[in-house]
Amino acid sequence: MSAPTAAPILEVADLRVHFPMRVGGFLNRRDVVLKAVDGVSFALARGETLGVVGESGCGKSTLGRAVLQLIAPTGGRVLWQGTDLTTLDRAALRDYRQELQVIFQDPLASLDPRMTVGDIVAEPLTAQPGSPPRAQVRSLVKDTLARVGLLPEMINRYPHEFSGGQCQRIGIARAMIVRPQLIVCDEPVSALDVSIQAQIINLLRELQREFGLSLIFISHDLSVVRHTSHRILVLYLGKVLEIAPADALYTEPLHPYTRALISAVPLPDPKRERGKQRLVLHGDLPSPLSPPSGCVFRTRCPWAAAVCAEQAPLLREVQPGRRVACHFDAPGERAPGAAAQ
């Protein structure tokens, strides 16, 4: 998808979420800081989808929640149409809650089992002061249910009566009923079967076109993200390693980590899958409690050099619209291990 070009409605600058933690046992107890999100910056235009990818524990979900102020950031700014949300108190934030919505991964677990579908979908409206009259809410709920592909007469049923795909539609209806401008989608299709995944992806794309929605689409599934996003942000241990337009990122990944991620995605095509060059990463993701010095990726990077342990690379613009946090230009063009000076 080509990205809409417009002034950003969301600007995130140097966002940080640090959790103080106490680790160790009786004798070696010490206080450490878990930097779940560490200096993330990006902008999002109206009608645009930013995909956020990375392995488990990289800070994707924390980033999404911090943007919405569901977790208080410890630093940085979140400019929503010019207003810095991080400076607002709870009461002032309430005015923005309807504009900023969220959809979660596990559709059934995120719906209250004792509430009817009608009450669940209406909640973002009725939880606010100045809620419209009941009859109006009910008709709005029915319209919204119909818009997300559910039958309006399902309004009095309970979540357990629905399949996973239908529950995710209920979650989308609950987000859509307040006509939001931004939805953070946190792994919205990861729990769904393949045949149902496509229905939900297509629904989100339709809603985006119809309402000019901006989406932050968090997923570990790189195939899904390519299909849903205009631009993609690659996160690793709380830091942005690369941000690029979707097609460019997949056809020409610049950061070594991005290359490794993309080459690891299995393709449903036996010849391509067996013939492709794979960049295999050795070792596990380091503990976020003690990230490597310098570049956080260096312990698994086949091209790591001395400088990578000393200095953290800046996220710099290498092509228009493409930013990469690596000390080297096109490290992938050198043989692994052959570090530049």
């Binding site: 995944q197 496509a198 299909h227 849903t228 299995p266 095509d269 295999v280 993701l285």
Partner: protein, 321 residues
């Protein structure tokens, strides 16, 4: 070629308070020595229950009928003692969540050597040496040190490597892997799939890979069986299934998948509706209500018929999908 495992006319039913669930319906399949067979299907397709039935691992409310032949032993009519001589020794198993299959209270060394002492009669020194060899084979770094650790000290990917090493200890003729990489990150998944491919090359083990992920099958398997609502709907080589699918469901499944090697210019072709409820299977072809080319005759259950050498499909239509 000799079949390592042959399943004929398998039917599995579960009794539930809401009625009987028809989880597996008339499934027949086989896997040959050194072959890797992919079983693809969505949740509720019966892909796991086929093998849970075959290995006598069904939940208490389940019953299986049919024939499961493993080198002349009918597993379905075997006693638990007989099954225990086969499971874990001649047939290795790997599941999605290794934590549920490893004992959290015992070190990896204890769990691995126990298998070798029990099934292969090794003494403890030889067993430890063998355990170390298998951990090294699946590329667990610092295997000697890792042997004496507990499962919780391993990451998800390393734990799955330990599971594979354990499943290989008795050099099984068949390895059944049920969603072995589903819980793992994509880079770890790639590494585990390489380990499985390597095992197959080096030990000539037959592998049955049960998964919902067509991409994983494309990389590892030679032959593929597609299941829907407890039935086999199509069978063929991996090339036939991916490049010339014959059943409308297989085609729809391929077209509904987002792919990392394709841009997003086109809408995904979603499959409408939902998989059928196995408690109330509709009459006829179970895919009928979602099938874009369904006809009047689809009210009859289509037989799984041969349309080429080793090529099967369960659809009334003569034309490809």
């Amino acid at each position: 070629m000799a079949h390592v495992l042959r399943i004929r006319d398998l039917n599995t039913r579960f009794d539930t308070p809401e009625g009987e669930v028809a989880a597996v319906n008339d499934v027949s399949l086989h896997v040959d020595a050194g072959e890797s067979l992919g079983i693809v299907g969505e949740s509720g397709s019966g892909k796991s229950q086929v093998f849970m039935s075959a290995l006598g691992l069904l939940a208490k409310n389940g019953r299986a009928r049919g024939h499961v032949d493993f080198h002349g032993i009918d597993l379905l009519s075997s006693s638990n003692e007989e099954l225990n001589r086969v499971r874990g020794a001649r047939i290795g198993m790997i599941f999605q969540d290794p934590m549920t299959s490893l004992n959290p209270y015992l070190t990896v060394a204890t769990q691995m050597t126990e298998v070798l002492v029990e099934h292969r009669g090794l003494d403890s020194v030889a067993a430890r040496a063998a355990a170390l060899r298998y951990l090294e084979m699946v590329e667990v770094p610092e295997a000697g040190k890792r042997l004496d650790q507990y499962p919780h000290e391993f990451s998800g990917g390393m734990r799955q490597r330990v599971m594979i090493a354990m499943a290989l200890l008795c050099e099984p003729e068949l390895l059944i892997a049920d969603e072995p990489t589903t819980a793992l990150d994509v880079t770890v998944q790639a590494a585990i799939l390489e380990v499985l491919a390597d095992v197959k090359r080096r030990l000539d083990t037959a592998i049955i890979l049960i998964t919902h992920d067509l991409g994983v099958v494309a990389g590892l398997c030679e032959r593929v069986i597609v299941m829907y609502a407890g039935r086999v709907v199509e069978q063929g080589t991996v090339e036939e299934i991916f490049y010339a699918p014959q059943h409308p469901y297989t085609l729809a499944l391929l077209n509904s998948m987002p792919r990392a090697d394709r841009g997003a210019a086109q809408e995904l072709q979603a499959i409408p509706g939902q998989p059928p409820n196995l408690q109330r299977l509709p009459p006829g072809c179970a895919y009928r209500e979602r099938c874009p080319v369904a006809e009047a005759r689809c009210i009859e259950v289509p037989a799984l018929r041969e349309i080429g050498a080793g090529r099967l499909k369960a659809c009334h239509r003569e034309q490809p999908a």
